[in-house]
Symmetry: C2
Subunit: 599 residues, 2 copies
């Protein structure tokens, strides 16, 4: 992308053109034909275009007909089958309790959902029938296993195109455990993406129904809505009824990796009584979800019995749901965590589906007062130990991080994580840099998120304005995603990620040259940018005007900067450019300046 | 403030009580009787209370009757007169062009406003008649002059109470030029505040009418609205008509220091033609505003002729309005800036009213690409030189900063400013950490603001969601102020400002103990916090319920944390506290946990 000259003829048109379209980039020369990486092509009014990373899936491609009842096309299926290391099998039968239903009704087959008080879409996902798949003879079929063996998979090629690096860099980062590429063999619908500090910072959005609200339809809609605005992965944190069926609908329609916390569903199966949880119930739930295609799972195996008392004197105790469930179990039985005890067996299961670990920080601080305390760091050391075990079993692994941390303690936090966990990708929630602003925790945490991502966090878990207060609606999901895309991109810039600044440069060029439509179309949220502009100057001509509502039409300061360029630094082309023509229109009244920021 | 025990009887009441009231803290023993520092006293349902810094002025005191037509009481008048170093004088006559009006009409007297197409309030401010005041024989009557002489003024005592430090610390910081206490002798209505890195980080909000929008009434309303939400100072950046009269209404009703950019009004007086500006017109405008009571003025004296060509190759040229006006003047005349040339005389004028300099960064970057470039740093070195001159003339001085700066260049920026300007207070706009999110620049800049304030910025100039797009309305002003209060408080925490964490601790205690009303009342924005909670669980009993919409009523995790505390760490009082009683209500269904953050 090059610097854009002002006022080519295209700029003079008042006609509103479509601002961008979905494009596809092929793999490198000699790559497979079915490797097409989606991008967002923004058309500028000067005839140039800007290519941006795109997470929105086939939904934004007008040439693809999507139908939530059918699900997305299984793009990766031939790659998975082609490897020949997996096999289909009958799978675990779906039971009423998978959906939180107690009564037994005549059901069966893998894809049958709950038949209780479902709202919205059908109880059973009506898409094409499928059998689950896993590694032959329980072998590891993970991207980590391939990378360690020196193999570059199509998925690795795909993300190499997406990230504009060589496939070998992708393989190396995965092999070293510094990056994960979450792709369950049972989720062939996704467009592969990679999470690691060497790559673009990623953003996760949480969705999920609860006991009191939300229908399946709403959750599927929230997922596509979140990815439209840039969510790189989505976690389904449903806790109410119909968990299994909701997840099936979400997975079959999701172009991005889906994460879950299996412990939530396991707890539903024992009617919310933590002490009745067992390794068998948990394991069965993990297999159930792995067969559906969950790409990564949060596992709170670091909450050990001995650490629970460390939280007793805290200001806010244990605030992680998974953490408190495991702490309750440990307390009730006075035994070591069954997740910790069975971690090797669990790792073998995950490796055979290529489910990625997200090792949960069950003892993360829930307040500024509790940040970076003994409980948190004791758990982190255990996560480091588990990370080593997971990698030995070829399970891709990332590590979850806080929480609430004041700015001056953030660097210590991530530096310790990177050291203890051998640079495994850090996946952090915020962190929130103060406790005093409920209703604005997307901002309190967006600050911490940008900083920790600059210092190495690979993926940021978003926080919405409703954090601590209620369940996010559609608007909250969008606000959360946009805020976190800002944090992620600010970090990409600060890390000097190749190409990151081209986006900023293109938008700043458009701003300097009064190409308003280009500014809108390049914006992270074109709709709101256009709406805010139109609130003050709604008329269509204002979109090409060389002024704005800040200074009014009487004067022009970009004009002054243009004068300076002409006199001192501009090339002959610049002097002779169409700028002079445009400027004359406003010259009579004194050429007032567009001012991005009043001072 | 101490940690709050759970569930004293007061907590069980469902009755909605007023959440806070305006209180006043007297000066130390032996202090003057009229020194009463306003605070916000938040009443907790457990009978305790939390004292917070308050910027809202008499408007939130139900015992004070305010009337915008009368103005606020001149609290400091007796202090100013008592010093005996100032005198009243006739003052400069107000002219039609002060309000941007060309026709001459019969008018006169200091307080007559414009009589053109005023909208909203009257043309002439109807409050008590007053004469302007200045230092006898042009002497310096600034807080800096007093501090250098070792004198502790009532204003210094006042801010010492406000900041919870000794008056001597205040005096030292001012004398060293590390802090400013902006108090024009003609603005006796304000409640003194201090700006310096040793003190709480402050926030400025911009208001101001423009050629196309806003009435005087709206601007006065925006000012009180901004201070209600925590703005520590307000800049009136009006550029349209009725500048003089609007400012008069704002000043007479403002409890916080008012800043301006005199160049804006001077430009109006020459009908927007930068080249027609003269030192005489500028000086006259400064005196006009100083007589009205403007507390600090942005002066772009660092934009020197030689620096203008340095901006020619920039991506976004000069984006500061003041900077581009001065650059245009320098270019038109090919002469050194009249502000730079007359800086010593200007300083004498400011010192005689105690107007504080805010040395403007006219060459600040307007895009990521231009951050920390040669033009910016050349100007900064000149600001350092001017800072030394200003202090020699006893003028309090702060230095304005960027702008657009990616995260990894922020520290370099402030470190250089602190070095070159001998730790003079830095007053920064953001900085914005990316250019790609118009409509969310309160967030792109809130990130940079929090970081730069942690590293030493004394005051943050807010940015609203409308930045780059249009004029902020009331909602935008609130969003901007709240975002920046978050950044400022996050920085206070990171700097370890004494007492800053007590606020977070009180809110976290309330959260842990399910004291919902206390959470709301302690929040930076109680209204929105309550509204968001009620969206999901509107009924009044939910305000005292031991659960929330995130998990529903079936289970309790704070309960689990309480169990842990009881078993491992709690005192006997805690075990016997009312918690047990409350918890039993939910025990039958499994004691589910309140979870601030889903994982």
């Amino acid at each position: 992308m090059t610097t854009v000259d002002a006022h080519t003829p295209a700029n003079d048109s008042n006609e509103r053109k479509p601002g961008w379209h979905k494009g596809y980039v092929p793999g490198p020369e000699g790559s497979r034909a079915d490797l097409r990486v989606p991008v967002r092509q923004v058309h500028l009014t000067n005839g140039q275009h800007v290519t941006l990373y795109d997470t929105s899936g086939p939904y934004t491609d007008p040439t693809v007909e999507t139908d939530v009842r059918r699900g997305l096309a299984p793009l990766r299926e031939s790659w998975i089958i082609g490897r020949g290391d997996t096999e289909e099998y009958a799978g675990r039968p779906v039971r009423p309790e998978d959906d939180g239903l107690k009564h037994t009704s005549p059901r069966g087959g893998l894809l049958r959902g709950g038949d209780g008080d479902l709202r919205g879409l059908d109880a059973v996902f009506p898409g094409r029938p499928r059998q689950p798949r896993r590694g032959r003879d329980g072998r590891a079929v993970s991207q980590l296993a391939y990378a360690k063996r020196g193999e570059i998979s199509p998925e690795m090629e795909y993300v190499a195109v997406r990230e504009n690096v060589s496939p070998e860099v992708v393989r190396e980062e995965i092999a070293a455990g510094r990056a994960v590429l979450p792709v369950n063999v049972n989720h062939p619908e996704i467009e592969p993406m990679i999470i690691g500090k060497r790559f673009l910072v990623k953003v996760n959005a949480n969705i999920g129904n609860s006991a009191v609200t939300s229908s399946i339809e709403e959750e599927v809609d929230k997922m596509t809505w979140a990815t439209k605005w840039g969510a790189d992965t989505v976690m389904d944190l449903s806790t109410g009824r119909n968990i299994h069926t909701t997840r099936e609908w979400v997975l079959r329609n999701s172009p991005v990796p889906i994460g879950t916390v299996p412990l939530y569903q396991a707890l539903e199966k024992v009617d919310g009584r933590a002490e009745e949880l067992t390794w068998e119930i948990y394991k069965d739930t993990v297999i159930e979800q792995a067969e559906q295609g969950v790409d990564y799972m949060t596992v709170h195996a670091g909450v050990r019995l001995a650490y629970v008392p460390l939280t007793a004197r805290r200001k806010t105790g244990i605030v992680s749901r998974g953490g408190s469930i495991m702490a309750a179990w440990c307390l009730a039985h006075h035994k070591e965590s069954f997740l910790y005890e069975n971690f090797e067996e669990l790792s073998d299961i995950l490796a055979s589906y290529d489910v990625t670990y997200s090792l949960g920080d069950g003892l993360r601080p829930g307040s500024i007062a509790d940040a970076n305390d003994e409980a948190q760091f004791a758990e982190l050391r255990t996560l480091g130990e588990l990370n080593t075990i997971a990698k030995r079993h070829d399970v891709q692994t990332m590590i979850e991080g806080p929480g609430h941390v004041p700015m001056h303690k953030i660097k210590e936090n991530i530096d310790l994580q990177q050291e203890i966990c051998e640079e495994a990708p850090f996946y952090t929630l915020g962190p929130l840099t103060t406790d005093v602003a409920p209703a604005y925790d997307h901002i309190t945490s967006g600050i911490g998120a940008a900083m920790i991502a600059w210092w190495g966090t690979a993926m940021l878990c978003y926080v919405t304005p409703k954090e601590h207060l209620g369940l996010p609606n559609r608007d909250d999901v969008k606000t959360g995603v946009i805020t976190y895309k800002i944090a992620a991109h600010a970090a990409d810039l600060a890390k000097g990620h190749p190409g990151a600044q081209e986006w900023d440069d293109a938008l700043s060029d458009a701003r300097f040259e009064f190409r308003w439509e280009d500014q809108f179309n390049l914006a992270l949220d074109p709709d709101t940018a256009r709406e805010f502009h139109d609130e003050t100057l709604p008329a269509e001509p204002a979109k090409t005007a060389h002024f704005c509502s800040m200074c009014g039409p009487k004067f022009c300061s970009m004009k002054i900067s243009q004068d300076i360029r002409r006199e001192h630094g501009g090339s002959q082309e610049e002097i002779e450019s169409g700028m002079a023509e445009k400027s004359r229109e406003f010259a009579a009244s004194g050429n007032r300046v567009y001012l991005p920021i009043a001072d």
